[in-house]
Symmetry: C2
Subunit: 467 residues, 2 copies
């Protein structure tokens, strides 16, 4: 009897779904939704999307053209899950909010968790926000208004307002009874917080600890005391950093009097970490983070400013080259060779800059080790400077049959690579100190400097030695 | 009576620590550790670091020079927390493992969770691995060997082997009793998995649900059935994607017969998401991810290959420029202006490429919307092409006083920006299809193409129209 007869290759009925066998958003599903919408077959479209989770439905909407997107929303009518709205990217969220109109939008917001509701309302225009707030029941309106008062991307906006807090003199039994009877608990929670009479957090207990201790046990004897809390005004990036540093599953949020006002759980932080890393990647590339979903005109306009800045710096670089016009006139081969030096300088600088920008973001680079790292980058510059000076000098000598041009090329390469390494490290450090996000501007400043050094040194030495 | 008298500004005694008031790794702490180590004052150094968590101690080690690092490890002796070793970056982990020697290293590994132990052993050289394995007790050795058999970065390597699985016919009471008595449970867990007699997962219950239901309740009546599982060989990036798509806190890992063999929790995934985003950023910048901590020589060598590839492409670009040597000889001003076109092309292409690489990584770009996104990028290229053609043409006309040069510049800019947008989108798509990570090679391919287009079109038109 072979093993195959005992272990079926296909998933046995009633078992859980293995993630690699999930249907989810398959290309087939997307295409049949598209076809149904084009054929105005609303029933079929609704049937196909019925199996999707909110996040998958949101992805589907983002993949459709604006026209089909509008039709799909229309045919969902009141069956449209508000959670889908919460999962959408900014631009598309706004588009669909507009389509729904204030009344149905307000009805959807009522069904969302407060943190999702807040996030959604924030994306709306100010006048829209006021319209929606008017439609909300007063209790929810108050919660939203309190939330809107916290700064953008702060712990106060990220936190959930439902959590479990008990006094330290309770027993495990008291706590379990409370949990069975209370009705405004969060859907899922992993830890219980212990507060003093002023509602300030003094400890926490994980649910597994509650379950594993006998009923008469005092909470104070099993709680972890001196836990970490975050102030409501702390930036979400800092909150994410605290989570990964302290390996937390949830963290209590406190107001300026240290009172417990909310809880942030690890799933919220998962999104923050993804967003922040995304933001760094996008900024290094000179684009906005929801670029993919914006209309062509909007994308074009938002990329324009970055390219315009680059144009200014490129003209500055050209002016530097222009200084050596008469040198170029006498030895045209220099114009053929000079982009090699600039390209190598730009790339070497970008390598160092990427490491520096990322290390600043993760707090691995700071004033305490900046000098040591700078020393290392200098050595890296010297190492690759020597290697590439030899290589490039050789190539130039061979190509132009002039030892002098080879020599100029080698010296320029050496100086450029060392300066590129130092600039790649210094520029992000200076920008960070000046209070700018180093991911935004480092790239354009860096290549301007490496270009000026590369062209200036190469053409400068050529003028001195060759003419 | 002012509010200030009631609410002290300083943290009241006994309360939890607010994250922004955490001492953690302050520059003062780092400096006093450094001073103590330099003065060989081992007792003081040990005392200072005693308050640090494992992750903070790991960060501290990474901030110290190799020399002080060695001294700190020496003075910690057997008090060195194995968890610190687990938190270190690859290169430094290896360095300290070497320093500790096989016997103390094995003793530390015994005290780690199996997933951390595995991760640590994987960083070691093959011969070291064998040495360490020999030192481990046979049960742990077996676990490690099973783990090593899973592919790198797979769910099997990431998962914990300790989890709670119960049969569906148990009651809440049976489960609580089991939890109180069992002794090989994980430190922290948030969900209990339900398995059938063949140990295949058929559902899960959160701890909060166990706590909130009466004792005689059957687990089968409160469990969530048809849950998502991941196969042990699934890549960790895919696992992270499943977590964020399905908003999970933990996921059961199954073998090829669908049997439950481990559990991955959200805190492991937090690290994966950070690592993968880090990897993308680093690859786009042409560096390795532990670059910051490598020695200068190692860093220099690892960056060399990227720069060498760039040198080859820069030489190709120079050869293209070389074709137009006689044109440049007649109008030297072209050499001064040509870097502007190339720089704009490179930057516009990088913008599109960044969006494409990131959208491929997050699965927001796929075959089903590639054509639409491409169409949009074409429009963006045309939009910015027209604007910058006008701007740059005007600048060139004004500068050279030649309408013809201005015209050539404008046409070259227009064509380059459109081609840059299309290449920025196409190159990552082609690389992805060819099975390469688009983040690694897109940048160097892209700038080679935009440079060749920019210089080729500009000098080509100039040759046709100006001579």
């Amino acid at each position: 009897m072979g093993k195959n007869m005992l272990e079926p290759k296909v998933k046995p009925e009633g078992l859980s779904v293995r993630a690699d066998e999930l249907l989810g958003l398959s290309p087939e599903l997307i295409n049949s939704v598209r076809d149904s919408l084009r054929e105005q077959n609303q029933t079929r479209a609704k049937m196909i999307v019925a199996s999707l989770r909110a996040s998958e439905f949101a992805d589907l909407l983002q993949l459709l053209s604006p026209n089909l997107r509008r039709r799909l929303i229309e045919c969902m009518g009141t069956d449209f899950d508000p959670q889908v709205l919460a999962e959408l990217e900014g631009d598309i969220q706004e588009e669909i909010s507009e389509q729904l109109g204030p009344v149905s939008l307000a009805n959807m917001i009522i069904r969302l968790d407060i943190d999702d509701a807040l996030e959604l309302i924030i994306t709306l225009r100010k006048d829209r926000q006021r319209e929606i707030l008017k439609q909300l029941p007063s209790e929810l309106r108050n919660l939203v208004e309190v939330g809107l008062a916290f700064p953008k991307d702060s712990a106060g906006r990220l936190m959930g307002r439902e959590f479990v807090a008990v006094p330290s003199f309770w027993t495990v039994d008291d706590t379990i009874k409370f949990l069975r009877e209370a009705d405004n608990l969060p859907n899922e929670f992993y830890e219980i917080f212990i507060v003093n009479p002023r509602h300030r957090p003094i400890g926490k207990v994980s649910l597994s600890n509650i379950l594993r201790n006998e009923k008469p046990t005092k909470i104070s004897s099993i709680m972890l005391s001196e836990i970490v809390t975050v102030p409501a005004i702390m930036d979400q990036e800092e909150v994410a950093f605290v989570f990964s540093q302290k390996d937390l599953v949830s963290v209590p949020v406190v107001d300026e009097s240290y009172r417990l006002i909310g809880v942030i759980t690890v799933d919220d932080v998962l999104d923050v970490i993804q967003e922040e890393a995304e933001e760094d990647i996008m900024r290094l590339g000179g684009v906005k983070s929801d670029d993919l979903y914006s209309a062509a005109f909007q994308t074009g306009r938002s990329r324009f400013s970055w390219l315009f800045l680059n144009l200014i710096t490129a003209i500055v670089v050209s002016i530097v080259i222009g200084i050596f016009e008469s040198t170029l006139e006498q030895i045209v081969m220099l114009a053929v060779l000079m982009p090699i030096v600039a390209s190598m300088g730009g790339n070497a600088g970008t390598q160092t800059m990427t490491v520096a920008v990322r290390a600043l973001a993760t707090k691995e680079l700071s004033d305490t080790n900046a000098m040591r790292v700078m020393g290392k980058e200098f050595l890296v510059g010297v190492y690759n400077g020597i290697l590439f000076a030899t290589l490039v000098g050789g190539v130039a000598w061979f190509w132009t049959n002039s030892l002098k041009i080879g020599g100029v090329m080698a010296v320029a390469m050496m100086i450029t690579l060392i300066m590129a390494a130092l600039s790649g490290m210094t520029i992000p450090l200076i920008l960070q100190r000046a209070g700018t996000d180093p991911a935004i501007a480092s790239g354009v400043v860096l290549t301007t400097i490496t270009d000026i050094i590369a062209f200036g040194v190469f053409l400068g030495f050529a003028t001195l030695l060759l003419l």
